[in-house]
């Protein structure tokens, strides 16, 4: 292998993220996808929880990036047959199946798909409507090339037709294509082969497949989507009527031993809540009702989302198993029978029933796993160890996403980056692959007057259902200097990028305005298209008519349309005055600073060091290990002490890692690639990236006699006794555990995620020691998410009693004549209970460290409302910040278990490697510039610059800007009294033009 090379199997969001990280770190990537295009399940989702961001909108830029990255080779319609060799030298045997369209010749014009006479069920819309036998999978598909379903093609069936071939202007249809076998030499393999939905017919008591108005959650997702079969109009299948009452049934094919699925699918609670909320937005007045066993909203921002669904959207949450579903033959309505208050049966009628189907493996996935000489584990998932969350049994083969067990998008993305880091570690010995992307020379614009093209995005129905897009387009066309105005269904799709590039050529555009979503996520995508079309990327302007308009003025379409026109007019006025800007190149200091020496910080440091980057590891305590020093077992029961000792030994013997114990960061200056840090031990460090792994804190309060009665402990204290000599735990007859202490309350309105698992771990441990101990767990929801669920079942089987309490009726702990007493009201049975335990164990939550605030301020990164670090994007950038070169992992981000911390830490290492792998980075083009003709040399600007970037030149006596130091804040420009300093991209003239016409 002449350079780093990796194979990524699976083109869903996990595979895409792993590929992008690897590619950016100098690895040549083969991205293998079984289907005709990448995108996976995320491409089928309408919105994503808990922000209700439009799924396709955030995914599409990633698709485009993966499809056009010079280091990524997409192999669609391809499968992995086998893998020979050993790390880091594998040969992958790949079979590429025929698409019957020549990918090199096809231009993606789509004419063939309109002429194909055969209609087939559309797999993208889960067969809810029809597409052609020759079709482009979905509008934003990458590659945007049609694919033929040969089993349905009449030419293949009857030897006649070939219409597509006749109409194709590029001569790209090829009926003679055969499967092609390819061998690829790679150094590492990342498996991101995902999972599939549970087959709802296996639970026939719910009537799926029998009753028209029973649909699955993925079908409902398509029904909600603007690009779905009903264009986002919710109609029930039997009669096309809008439903007035919709029920959601949780845990269909999850937590269900009858269908041999003992685990929890981890995402369905949030998905159903999201569905109920969006449904209410689509159809006001609709009643929705979620039937559940536990609401498992254990992630960042999830509880708040559920609260909003309940309080603001009126979604009903009913804790009950539905015992039967019957149909009313007259109306096709569904009658659900369920138990309330533990016994009484109630019947309720709904117009539509949505089954929240779980995620599962399938025989195809398992066969592929076996072909790689791996053994599928529990329920067909790979189930890695907590300490090696992205590793498989085969060295050099890593796994991420739902193949490792059900999980949501951000966790899949974290694991994907984590797997990328693992692969980078094993590829460390090979040289990086140099790619220079050739861009066309920039057009000379000096003489020509600006020619503006305006593209107004419908964003499916996100914009189009509120703003009258055609009238905005018409209006834009009438503006001065606008030579072209068009609308796009999704302006960010790869197909739209192509048409925008074509329009730039055809209409000789020299400025582009896109009226769509927020520049914070999508500007780079359009700027790239500009650059590839020979236009300076700074000649681009965004009008945000979604986040700042259609989404916040949903009830005022007329005024939103007027506002959209204003925003477009302002953007055009600015665009006309934009000037091309150049970026300067700055060298990168190829080393990292990791703040925090707990499990997460150490994992990140070890990965970066293995990738050959020097690391400074700073720990405020006198020892490494953080909170894990107090733990004995992971949630899965693995030995934490041994793991920790081994990790600390590795760190201490690693020559590339310099450890500073008892040390804190005093100040951090600089920016991506060039940070300078002063530590409290007096040392100065230069580094290119920062990994924040400062951990969290265990909640401490006086609740439940804690601190007053020695028999009241926290789970950690119990674990210390269990793991120690256990002396104090002899002869325990009964133990009460209280969940959600310092979590999910007014003060900490979020779920601490690991407390339920910890309670299960310790309860089972107590029973291992003495099976006769009576254990009561007083809880609200048992959040044994994902593959943790079987431990909940085990605990129940072994006699642990779970009693539900309501937040407004918390248990009361008292000391009655020397013995502990716990009183509470059982939420389900409504009975008062009195317990006299020997021990009360508090499952205390995790809170953010107060030290996060000053650190966030010196790093210029935000915190969330609970004091944890706020990542750049909750779905797709879970370890990044909007500030480049700074990454977060572990409890500093949100409560999580050891395995999740390690995979996030490795993810942070991977993201950091995408910076450190480069020799140079480009500085921001938007920096301050001085007009020497106007400058009086007064020096006011030099005083306000926080970076010392503006100086009075000794010779000329005028202000000059040091481009390498300038961050582009514009403070100097706002200070100049004579208007001599301008921030490029925000000059006085540009802003004045905008203010001229709002």
């Amino acid at each position: 292998m002449e350079h780093k090379r990796a194979l990524v199997v699976g083109g869903g969001i996990a595979g895409i993220q792993a590929s992008l990280d690897l590619a950016d770190a100098g690895v040549e990537v083969f991205l293998l996808e079984r289907g005709p295009s990448i995108g996976g399940r995320m491409a089928q989702l309408d919105k994503t929880f808990p922000t209700n961001d439009c799924s396709m909108c955030i995914l599409s830029p990633k698709l485009v990036e993966a499809g056009s990255h010079p280091n990524i080779k997409l192999l669609t319609k391809s499968e992995l047959l086998g893998l020979e060799g050993e790390a880091p030298r594998f040969v992958a045997h790949v079979r590429k199946h025929p698409r019957y369209v020549d990918e090199d010749k096809c231009t993606g014009c789509g004419i063939c798909t309109t002429k194909c006479p055969v209609k087939i069920p559309d797999p993208y819309n889960v067969n809810l409507d029809k597409t052609r036998c020759l079709h482009i999978p979905f509008p934003q598909a990458v590659p945007g090339i049609p694919v033929m379903d040969a089993s349905q093609c009449i030419y293949f069936k009857r030897g006649k037709c070939r219409v597509c071939e006749k109409v194709c202007p590029a001569d790209a249809i090829d009926f003679t294509q055969q499967p092609k076998d390819i061998d690829l030499e790679v150094g590492a393999v990342v498996l991101a082969i995902g999972s599939q939905e549970f087959e709802a017919r296996l639970k026939d008591e719910y009537g799926y497949g029998t009753f028209d108005n029973v649909v699955t959650s993925i079908e409902f997702e398509r029904m909600l989507s603007a690009s779905g079969p009903t264009s986002g109009h919710i109609k029930r299948p039997s009669d096309g009527e809008e439903p007035a009452r919709v029920a959601f049934l949780q845990c269909v094919g999850s937590r269900d031993l009858q269908v041999e699925r003992a685990y929890c699918s981890a995402v369905c609670c949030m998905q159903a809540t999201k569905h109920a909320v969006i449904l209410t937005e689509h159809l006001s007045g609709v009643e929705s009702c979620i039937f559940y066993m536990d609401i498992r909203s254990y992630g960042k921002g999830f509880d708040r989302f559920v609260d909003r669904a309940r309080d603001e959207y009126g979604v009903r949450f009913i804790r009950s198993r539905v015992s039967s579903v019957e149909v009313d033959p007259e109306t096709d309505d569904l009658v659900l029978q369920y138990a309330v208050d533990g016994c009484k049966l109630r019947k309720e009628k709904f117009n539509l029933l949505v089954l929240s189907v779980g995620l599962c493996s399938n025989p195809g996935i398992e066969a592929l796993v076996r072909r790689l000489d791996l053994e599928p584990g529990n329920h067909g998932f790979l189930v890695p160890s907590s300490f090696r969350p992205v590793d498989t049994e085969r060295v050099g083969v890593y796994a991420c996403g739902t193949i490792n067990g059900p999980k949501d998008i951000p966790e899949s993305v974290m694991e994907a980056s984590g797997a990328s880091s693992a692969a980078l570690c094993s590829l460390a010995g090979f040289p990086a692959r140099e790619v220079s992307q050739r861009l066309p020379p920039e057009k000379d614009l000096r003489a020509a007057p600006p020619r503006v093209g305006v593209f107004v995005c419908r964003c499916g129905i996100n914009i189009g259902s509120v703003v009258d897009v055609p009238s905005v387009v018409e209006y834009a066309a009438s503006l001065p200097r606008v030579v072209l105005a068009e609308e796009r269904l999704f302006a960010c799709s790869s197909d739209s990028q192509k048409t925008i590039a074509e329009a730039i050529q055809e209409h000789d555009l020299t400025r582009v305005v896109v009226a769509a979503c927020t520049p914070r996520t999508h500007e780079p995508l359009f700027q790239k298209t500009m650059a590839e079309s020979g236009l300076n990327p700074y000649l681009f302007e965004f009008a945000n008519i979604r986040e700042h308009n259609s989404w916040v003025h949903q009830k005022e379409p007329a005024r939103a349309t007027e506002k959209a026109k204003d925003l477009v007019r302002m953007a055009v006025a600015k665009a006309v005055r934009l000037k091309p800007l150049t970026k300067s190149r700055l060298p990168v200091t190829k080393s990292a600073l990791v703040i925090g020496g707990g499990v997460a910080g150490m994992a990140a440091a070890l990965d970066l060091s293995t990738q050959r980057y020097p690391v400074t590891l700073v720990e405020k305590d006198e020892q490494l290990g953080g909170h894990a020093r107090r733990l004995f077992r992971s949630l899965q029961g693995e030995d934490v002490k041994a793991f920790l000792a081994q990790t600390i030994r590795k760190i201490e013997s690693d020559e590339r890692i310099s450890v500073h114990l008892g040390t804190e960061v005093e100040r951090i200056d600089g920016y991506v690639g060039n940070f300078h840090t002063r530590l409290s031990d007096g040392s100065d460090v230069d580094h290119g990236v920062v990994v924040v792994a400062t951990g969290g804190e265990e909640y401490r309060g006086k609740d439940y006699l804690y601190g007053q009665d020695a028999r009241v402990l926290t789970q950690t204290e119990l674990e210390e006794r269990l793991g120690g000599d256990g002396e104090a735990l002899q002869g325990l007859e009964s133990v009460v555990m209280i969940q959600c202490v310092g979590s999910r309350d007014e003060q900490n309105p979020y779920c601490s995620r690991i407390c339920c698992g910890t309670a299960l771990k310790n309860a089972l441990w107590l029973l291992d020691r003495d099976p006769d101990t009576r254990i009561f767990v007083l809880c609200r929801d048992v959040r044994a998410y994902g593959l943790m669920e079987p431990r909940y079942q085990e605990a129940r089987e072994r006699g642990v009693v779970f009693v539900r309490y309501e937040p407004d009726a918390r248990p009361q702990v008292s000391n009655a004549g020397g013995s502990l007493q716990v009183r509470l009201k059982d939420e389900i049975l409504g009975e008062k209970i009195l317990l006299r335990p020997d021990l009360v164990v508090l499952s205390t939550g995790i809170t953010a460290r107060p030290g996060n605030k000053p650190l966030s301020q010196s790093l210029k990164v935000p915190l969330d409302a609970d004091g944890f670090f706020l990542e750049a994007h909750v779905k797709l950038r879970p370890v990044d910040f909007a500030t480049d070169g700074v990454f977060v992992c572990g409890l500093a981000h949100y409560p999580k278990d050891i395995g999740e911390s390690i995979s996030q830490a490795r993810a942070a290492a991977s993201r950091a490697a995408t910076v450190l792998a480069r020799d140079e980075i480009e500085s921001e083009g938007k920096i301050a510039r001085v007009d020497e003709a106007l400058c009086s040399g007064c020096g006011a600007c030099t005083e306000v610059c926080a970076y010392g970037a503006v100086k009075i030149d000794a010779d000329s006596g005028l202000a000059t800007v040091n481009a390498a130091l300038c961050k582009g804040c514009g403070t100097c420009a706002a200070t100049c009294r004579v208007g001599a300093v301008d921030l490029s991209g925000f000059s006085d003239a540009q802003l004045a033009a905008v203010l001229e016409c709002f």
């Binding site: 914070r520 945000n544 916040v552 514009g970 006085d988 802003l991």
Partner: protein
């Protein structure tokens, strides 16, 4: 306009790192607020020249608000503090131009404060609606 209710136009300069992100979050959270506000993205609250505020008010805006990161959070260290200092100068300029001081405001909105962004905007629109149109309109 006299008969109909007066609909003020508000210009909101929002810093890229906090307040613009907060406005985005109000959007993704679908928190509704009146459509009278036109956001202008700036890199930092500290880059808004007092002239720009006056310019907006004399060109037909009924109110101007600058939104930046909370003190201590500015992406550029202390641009927001500069903005705060300049606010005093802006108040004086408003007087010179015969404009009520209520027409200009400086507010801090962080990236996680979507609800607050919407609240602030509602409040600005209401208070300017009460104040009536700008004399330059």
């Amino acid at each position: 306009m006299s008969e109909e209710e007066f609909e003020p136009t508000i210009i909101a300069f929002c810093c890229n790192w906090c307040s613009y992100a907060g406005a985005d979050l109000a959007g993704t959270s679908r928190i509704q607020y009146p459509p009278n506000v036109r956001n202008i993205r700036v890199m930092c609250s500290g880059m808004v020249h007092p002239n720009m505020v006056i310019e907006a008010l004399t060109k037909g805006a009924d109110g101007v608000i600058i939104c930046g990161c909370h003190p201590g959070d500015c992406h550029y260290i202390e641009g927001n503090l500069r903005a705060e200092k300049r606010a005093e100068a802006i108040d004086l300029m408003l007087e010179d131009f015969g404009l009520e001081p209520e027409r200009f405001r400086l507010e801090w909105v962080s990236a996680s404060e979507g609800p607050r962004f919407a609240e602030v905007m509602k409040d600005v629109v209401e208070s300017i609606r009460e104040l009536g149109p700008s004399p330059y309109r």
